[in-house]
Each structure stands twice: as C-alpha cells, then as structure tokens.
C-alpha cells in the first residue's frame, strides 16, 4: 500500500457535457474524412434525441468554440432534434408524448413503464464534403 494513496487528476479541457460530445464528434469526423477521401467538410448533420440530455444550443456553441482555425474551420453543424417515441408498458400502443416528464398513454392512460423506441440517440447522420 503506498503511503499516500491520494492522487489528483485534472481534466481541464472539459468544461461541459457538450464540449466532450463535440470532441467525440470531431474524432469520428476525422476518421470519416479519410474513409471518404474528403478534402473539406462543408456540413455535418447530427441527430439529437430529446432524451439524450444534450442541449442543442450548447452543442452549437461548443462547435463554434472548438472548430475555428482547425481542420473543420468554416464548416456548418446542423442539429436535427429527434422527438421521443415510446411503446406503452401496459398495452403496447406506440405514441409520441408531449414531453418527457409525463407520458400518459393515449389509449390506456398508463403513465409509466414505457419502452423508449426513439429519442435516446445522439448520432452523426451525414456529412457534406468537397472531394477535390
């Protein structure tokens, strides 16, 4: 056992959830640019589910803070918000609730126990690139 087991780690480049998400996006984009022989990224389309816990405005803010001067300078981030869709836990009816806090089934009025079908995703949908 070491005499002083405490270690302090600083992870200073994380100031918010969305910053680290944009970092992950940039990593994936680098791979995809190579794969598709892209020379310049013009646009990237992200799908942001309402239950993913990611704020669209913060995502765009983080993108605008992290991309200038880098390889994706001048590209555009487009965020498509994906609404929640669930299957009722009681009767199986599929529906899109008005908000995530309360989801009464339109058929049987059950409030809880639903299975989320859509709305948890946070994914890169497509990119637009110049290939020459």
């Amino acid at each position: 056992m070491p005499s002083c087991p405490h270690r302090v780690y600083g992870v200073s480049d994380l100031s918010m959830h969305e910053m680290s998400i944009v970092q992950s996006i940039l990593g994936i984009l680098r791979e995809e640019m190579i794969k598709h022989d892209g020379h310049r990224l013009k646009k990237v389309v992200i799908k942001n589910g309402a239950l993913a816990g990611v704020v669209t405005e913060s995502l765009i803010f983080a993108w605008d803070a992290l991309t200038p001067g880098g390889e994706f300078d001048g590209s555009k981030l487009e965020v498509v918000e994906v609404p929640i869709r669930v299957a009722c836990g009681e009767c199986g009816e599929e529906f899109s609730p008005d908000h995530s806090r309360c989801m009464p089934c339109p058929k049987c009025e059950a409030l809880l126990g639903h299975t989320v079908l859509q709305g948890k995703e946070m994914l890169i949908d497509s990119i637009e690139i110049d290939d020459e």
Partner: protein, 219 residues
C-alpha cells in the same frame, strides 16, 4: 465536387470503445466494477465509507472518486484503508471511460476485488457515459423527494439497484417509499430497491448481500 455521405455513427461510441477496454481489464482480473450515481449529496461517499469499513476483511476494495473539484472524497474513503484515486473534472458533469482508464493507473489493480466508481453528483449526464462498470447503482436520498425516478427516467431505467439512503430521516420528511420504489420498478422491472441509512447502518446488510452475490458472479 461536393457530395453528401450518410454515416450514422453513435457519437458516444468513442466512450463505449474505452469502456469495453476497461471491462476486459476488469474481467481478466475478476474485478466487480460498480458505477455509483446520484444527485449531489445523496450520500455516495458516506455509503462507501461504511461499506469499505464493514467489508474490509472480506474484500479488497478500491475507489475512483469523481468530483468537480477537491480531493476531499478520496481522502474520506482512503481513511478506511482502501485504495483511492481522485479525478477532478473541473466543471465536467460526469466521468467517462478515458478518465477512469487514466485514474486506475494510480491503483494496484492486482489487489482489487471490487472497484467503486463514484460519479460526479448529477442525475442526468452520468447515465449517458459508461465507465466499464458491470452494474450501475443509483442512490436516492429520502430528503430529495419521491418524484425523482419519475423526473429522471433514464437514470433509473438503466440502473440495477436503487439505494434509498438516509431512511433515518423518514420521520422528518414527506417521502413515500412505496411511491418512489413503484415508479422505479415501472421504469425498470428488474431494479432492486434497497433502503439503507449510511448514518445508522440500518439495513446495510441487504446491500452487502447484493455486493457478495455480484462479486461471486465474477469468479
């Protein structure tokens, strides 16, 4: 020429890859890894202090502490004799697998049976980022209100255990145990609900039995 390319890749996948790397390490070393999540102050560190003390002779335990700032929590759990390492996220609202991979380098992983990862106090974001855990444990204290499972469904949906802490305060607060447990079970029919008090030690044995059973599965 300009072209559009369909990609469809999960943005959290970079983290998932690192989580798999952690899982492989834990599997090889037969370590049970638990991700402890809750809102700030629900009692994660207090539950750990008692657990590390009570099970000291039974398991070799280590803790990765995640906090915005300070190493207070790592000091508290290290005082029990367990190995501990602190991660300061400096504003980051959750831990991710990259941070945990870095942090465990400070631990002797050959001397660990159970690794607890105490996530940053936050009921939203930690649910999105795996840290190589076998199970997620969400703590809820009775001081916070029985509507939390309803308000943060994802958290309870993906947790294997809801530890309801501070039950010693039940006489003083308006908290309906059945309601909170009921909501959690509706979100996740397999969730185990264990009521405890880290202050008095009440019912901690039920939590220890769960730990024993999960650790046995790793052998």
């Amino acid at each position: 020429m300009s072209k559009e390319v369909t990609i469809i890749r999960n943005v959290l996948e970079a983290n998932d890859r690192l989580a798999d790397e952690l899982r492989a390490t834990f599997k090889a070393k037969k370590i049970l890894c638990l991700n402890l999540m809750s809102s700030p102050g629900a009692g994660k560190t207090s539950v750990l202090e008692r657990t590390l003390t009570d099970l000291r002779d039974e398991f070799r335990m280590a803790v990765v502490e995640g906090d915005l700032q300070t190493d207070n929590d790592a000091r508290r759990v290290a005082a029990t004799g367990a190995q501990a390492v602190q991660i300061n996220t400096e504003g980051g609202c959750h831990l991710d697998s990259g941070m945990v991979l870095d942090a465990i380098k400070a631990l002797d992983m050959d001397e660990v049976d159970i690794l607890f990862v105490e996530n940053v106090g936050n009921l939203v974001c930690p649910a999105e980022f795996e840290v190589g855990e076998d199970y997620k444990v969400t703590l809820l204290s009775v001081a916070e209100g029985d509507d939390k499972p309803e308000k943060y469904p994802l958290m309870f949906h993906i947790s294997s255990v809801m530890l309801l802490n501070k039950v010693d305060l039940l006489p003083y607060v308006d908290f309906d145990l059945e309601k909170a447990a009921g909501h959690a079970r509706k979100l996740n029919k397999d969730i185990e609900v264990i009521t405890v008090s880290a202050r008095t030690g009440e019912n901690m044995n039920a939590w220890y039995d769960w730990l024993r059973a999960r650790r046995a599965e790793k052998l």
